[in-house]
Amino acid sequence: MVIRRHVVPPRTWALPFALLAAFAGVAWAQATTAPDPASATAAPALRADLEHDAPALAFRDAFLAGDLDWPDVLERAGSEGAVRWYHWGGSEELNTWIDTVVAPNLAAEGIRVESVRVPATRDAVDVVLAEAAAGRGLGRGSVDLIWINGDNFRTLAQADLLFGPFADRVPNAAWYALDPADPAAAINLFDLGTPTLLRSIPWFAGQYVCYVDTARLPLERAPRDHADLHALARERPGRFTYVRPPDYIGTAFVQQAVVALYADAIASDAADAAPTLDAFLNDVAALGVDDVARLLEPGFAYLRALEPFLLGGGGAEGVRGAPVYPPSAAAWERLVAGGEIDLACEDNVFHAQSAVERGRLPESVRTIVFPEGAMRVNKSFLAIPANAPNPAAALVLADHLSSFESHVSKLELIGYPIALDLPRLTSEQRAVALAASPDLRGVDYDDLAEHAAPDMHASWVPLIDRLWERWIAGASPRAFGDVVADTLATP
């Protein structure tokens, strides 16, 4: 056995590891101070700060210039071989439909569909932003197609990270009114008020509908408008609530109350030179503080008056309980399923039917018309990021998903409404669509069309969310106008 000279060795060898670990810690802390890519200033056309793949860039320029025929696009798509579609991954119906219907169809054209299921659309947007921040341009990113709308679309538009205009350049564009001069085109050209500039193509047609459990609330007592709802809530305290903004469904409920109550207010004193309802369709930034407060106050006052009669709300005027606002549409649905409340809403006219079919709601649930004349409709879209790795395959998938056959299959299998412009269908196609349509559970297409109303401009959304948080949830004792002024002053 050899006796070593250093009987007790120095223990400093481990120090580098400690420093390495410490470095990782510092890097983590530093990463928080990294500039937010969302705030990067927008550049015109394709962002110059990104490094683009030359052939992909040449393809884009030729496609946008109209120099390519569709077979040329198909050919390049085939050579790209794959397409990555990012979409919300929380629906087993949608996941199954994509895997069993869309993927095989595209595989037949030599394109592999990689459906990437993200917890929220925001995550897909963040991936695009992160790659752009790292300088990845067209042909070099990792997101080809996103199912997107609202805030998320606006974020990509502001960062100038959208491919296009393409919506009018794919074969299935013929299903949509896309001419800005055509009033019917607005729903296809505006995403919650943000002009799409043809950088996204409609894919989902939303309409805000509510449903009641008729085992607990007979259909004839279901509310038709907000006054009815208030009366019903007083009569049956604790049997209603709505989703907490900024959840999309909750914000939509507040938006509808705001529009409906303001409409009532101007109807009752017509002499006043107040802003018209159209103000909600335009950018809120164009309005003064007083006008904004005037537009919003009736709706917010209504919601405040409703609060004591909500689930957990105390049950009587002046009693401040602890109203329960569910965090999401799914939680709202659960309250109806458990019989705790009578009514909830969704953004899909077939929602009640799908939920009953899949065991989430009881058979006694019926869809209702509420509020009359103000059931807002909007579309959500498919967009291609400006740094898509496979732009041609993305175009082919977007076009495929815009086909009549694909929309009918989606309607039939998973109850997602047809987003094509219905007047453009032939009578045979209409018959096919009707046959494929799930049950509307209590309403019909005429009701839905008659009571449809346009959606607000997206710029109202963050303002309404913050005001709700302060004035409703926060129960601010200050005058509504002051809170509006404050909120507008602090971006």
Partner: protein, 274 residues
């Protein structure tokens, strides 16, 4: 008395799982019914698209690939984390040097900063380094938030190690490898195993970091579960099934570690002492 305690423990440990199992097998189940009014196996033939466990078992759910990703990533994260954190913990526990407190503070930084705030910055770095969307990129990103837990735990474990024993062994001719293999490892194994379990469990539960650095590809079970429940949704049958799957790796690891260590040391005792 001891028996009552043991049964109490067993009940407390299994009751939440029993609820999950029932929820995963339910078709119609809502308050106030104690049990589902309609079960998965009664409804599965009448509903068009697969429901409950049928969906989880179908290839469309990708539940099994995701579980595999969870396990392989967490295993690699644990191994890599130990390689980095153990020596660091050893220095923190035994050495006194200039700047030691600064090093300790930096090691704790990931505890202070929330995952969400840092994920985007790390995602940009990952893209620049070319590891975004790769298995290794996700592993490397996961190591960062596990480090403070590993270092803190292992530093406490290291403090319990009497270095005179190592010196004695060296005097008798053992080389560094032998000291590690025959002395340090067996003595510290329970504590190290507990630390490794923390790292493993933490890795299997990271969502935002996984999505952004992994670019949504390489879904893990936690990501799948979060996609369904993130908005505060109800525990539907598929979510319940995914939640059960998510607990599997941790439970299996606990059982394996327990089996390996049982002959020499009491792992559970070590965990309780921490």
């Amino acid at each position: 008395m001891a028996r009552v305690w043991r049964w109490g423990w067993a009940l407390g440990a299994t009751l939440p799982f029993a609820a999950l199992v029932v929820a995963s097998l339910a078709f119609r189940w809502s308050w106030p019914d104690l049990l589902p009014t309609e079960w998965w196996w009664e409804a599965r033939r009448t509903v068009r698209l697969p429901i409950g466990w049928d969906y989880v078992a179908s290839s469309a759910s990708r539940a099994l690939p995701a579980l595999l990703t969870s396990v392989t990533v967490a295993t690699a994260v644990t191994a890599l984390g130990l390689v980095v954190a153990w020596p660091a913990a050893r220095v923190i526990a035994h050495e006194r040097f200039r700047g030691r407190q600064a090093v300790e503070l930096a090691l704790l930084a990931p505890l202070v900063v929330p995952e969400l705030a840092v994920a985007l910055g790390l995602a940009v770095s990952a893209v620049q380094l070319g590891v975004a969307g790769t298995w290794w990129g996700v592993v490397a990103a996961h190591v960062v938030p596990t480090l403070p837990y590993l270092v803190r735990t292992l530093a406490a474990v290291e403090q319990g190690f009497d270095r005179d024993l190592a010196d004695a062994a060296r005097v008798h001719g053992a080389d560094a490898w032998a000291v590690f293999w025959f002395l340090r490892l067996p003595l510290l194994a329970p504590g190290v195993a507990a630390a490794a379990l923390f790292a493993f469990l933490l890795s299997t539960h990271l969502v935002v970091l996984t999505v952004l650095v992994g670019q949504g590809r390489g879904e893990t079970t936690a990501v799948q579960l979060f996609a369904r429940l993130g908005g505060g949704a109800a525990l539907d049958p598929v979510s319940a099934a995914l939640a059960l799957l998510l607990t599997l790796p941790g439970v299996l690891l606990l059982v394996v570690l327990d089996g390996v260590l049982r002959r020499r040391v009491d792992l559970r005792g070590a965990v309780l002492r921490m």
